[in-house]
């Protein structure tokens, strides 16, 4: 147990009661502050360092083979608290060899950045690790329409992220070995 020490409060001395020495000390502090390095970031020219796990603009990512990972399961659409996501499900075009075994793909995927609250639930809920809140923090536009990110924009923003699973490759393998799931 820490012992409580009650400090006796001494009555102020005369010089303390004039406050003048204290003011001088304060003046010294502020004066020395003038020569300390500045913390200001000249924003548009200098960009801040974005830490990992930063929750910026939600984006869609592709796997390192350039395949879109989203299967339009619409879980993110359901979980999104402000209903910022709107997905039109579609199917994977037949002619895409390397995307066989993928059941579905979004035909259109819109995130309304005027509604998004950057909560990150979509990233958390996505079973395919297809949607990520990355390091973009500045989104602006001249109209409301511009502020709705469509699928193409989302993939542009998202780019490619390393993948640990290559789920579609595994599925393909599994199917070739006669085990559909």
């Amino acid at each position: 147990m820490a012992k409580t020490v009650v400090l006796e409060r001494k009555p102020l001395s005369l010089s303390e009661r004039t406050y003048l020495p204290q003011i001088v000390t304060g003046l010294k502090t502020t004066f020395s502050n003038m020569f300390k390095p500045k913390v200001t970031l000249q924003y548009p020219e200098e960009k801040p360092v974005i830490p990992n796990n930063y929750r910026g603009v939600p984006t869609l990512v592709k796997d390192p083979n350039g395949r879109e990972k989203c299967v339009s399961c619409q879980l993110c659409e359901f979980v999104c608290p402000p209903k910022a996501i709107r997905i039109t499900p579609g199917s994977v075009p037949d002619d895409q060899e390397d995307r066989e075994h993928v059941e579905k793909a979004p035909q259109e995927f819109e995130i309304n950045m005027l509604r998004c609250i950057y909560c990150g639930y979509c990233q958390e809920v996505c079973p395919e690790e297809a949607i990520f809140l990355q390091d973009q923090y500045s989104s602006s536009g001249y109209s409301r329409e511009e502020m709705v990110n469509n699928k193409q924009k989302l993939y542009e923003l998202g780019g490619t992220l390393p993948d640990h699973h290559y789920k579609w490759d595994k599925k393909k393998e599994a199917e070739e070995l006669g085990n559909a799931h």
């Binding site: 003011i23 304060g26 003046l27 502090t29 502020t30 004066f31 502050n33 003038m34 020569f35 300390k36 390095p37 500045k38 913390v39 200001t40 000249q42």
Partner: protein, 378 residues
Amino acid sequence: MFDWLPQNVWFSVGLKVFFALMMIGAVMTMAGYSVLAERKVSAWMQGRVGPNRTALPFIDYIPIIGPFLRKLGIFQPLADGLKFLFKEEIVPGHVNKFYYYLAPLVALVPALTTMTVLPFGQMYWPDGTTSILALADLEVGILFVFAVSSLGVYGIALAGWSSNNKYSFLGGIRSSAQMISYELAMGLSLLPVFLWVAVPGAQESGLSISGIANSQEGAAWLFLVQPVSALVFLIALFAETNRLPFDMPESETDLVGGFHTEYGSFKFGIFFVAEYAHIVIGSAIFTLLFLGGWHFLPFMNDPWPANWIGTLLGVGWFLAKTVFLIFFFIWIRWTLPRFRYDQVMHLGWTKLLPLALANLIVYVIIVTLIDQSNSTPF
């Protein structure tokens, strides 16, 4: 003063007008740039860089100098002024229009009037005589300054009252109360100075500012001789110019913007300039009274030659001291928190006023003793 010039009424009037315009220009520029200084110094003290974006075309392209000036924010006052000029003029519906428009002028005019009696240097003529550089070197200069500069409070009180807004009203009331309390201490703190400066046995005593400034040539500066007076005067000066820690009329945190809450665009700009003009002139007066005016250092004769170079150097030295005091004003502002209103009143009435009185009595005794022993003070 200008004996060598053609003796013609119109010519001398024209000359006076020219000097007056120059003086207005100088004081207004200094007021504008003290706003910039305030922003820059506050930024530096808080670890920021302050305004550094405004650029004039052309000048910005000069290598090294251009970007340097831009970093210093040299053109910021221009941009600020233009902004105030071109902003939409909003007059709230509930104000008393006449007084609402009148108030900024009433605040600005006294601030600019006091500078007529402000000496800022000493002219050395080729024939060895000297004369004081001032628009009007009044014998009762300091009384004039007090009389006129206190009128500035009417602008604040009027603004607060005519705004029909409780915050502004409180600001106005506080300002008048504060002005009354500190004016007394301010006046009393100066009496010992006049006593000290007045030559024993002389018929006229030194009420002229330039006389007081010149009495410090080669002698002790008055703040060394009269530290208590200087301190009380300085504190009262802070209160009179409504600067922190005494910015009761504004006190952003409890009164929104105080007396100028309802003011916008150029009318607000005028209040702003008036405030800073007060600071500039207050600093100049403190310099003249306690810091030796345009004289070099205490106990030293002016090192500059008695010709036009000396004149310029003297004026420059005076300006340097004034600028330092303006910096001091800013420095204090970003160091000390604001007093509570009752504390301000308490300090004024129960601390400064008795202190100034006691100081006066002590110096009356000292000066009498010196006079009795027939020696002249310093």
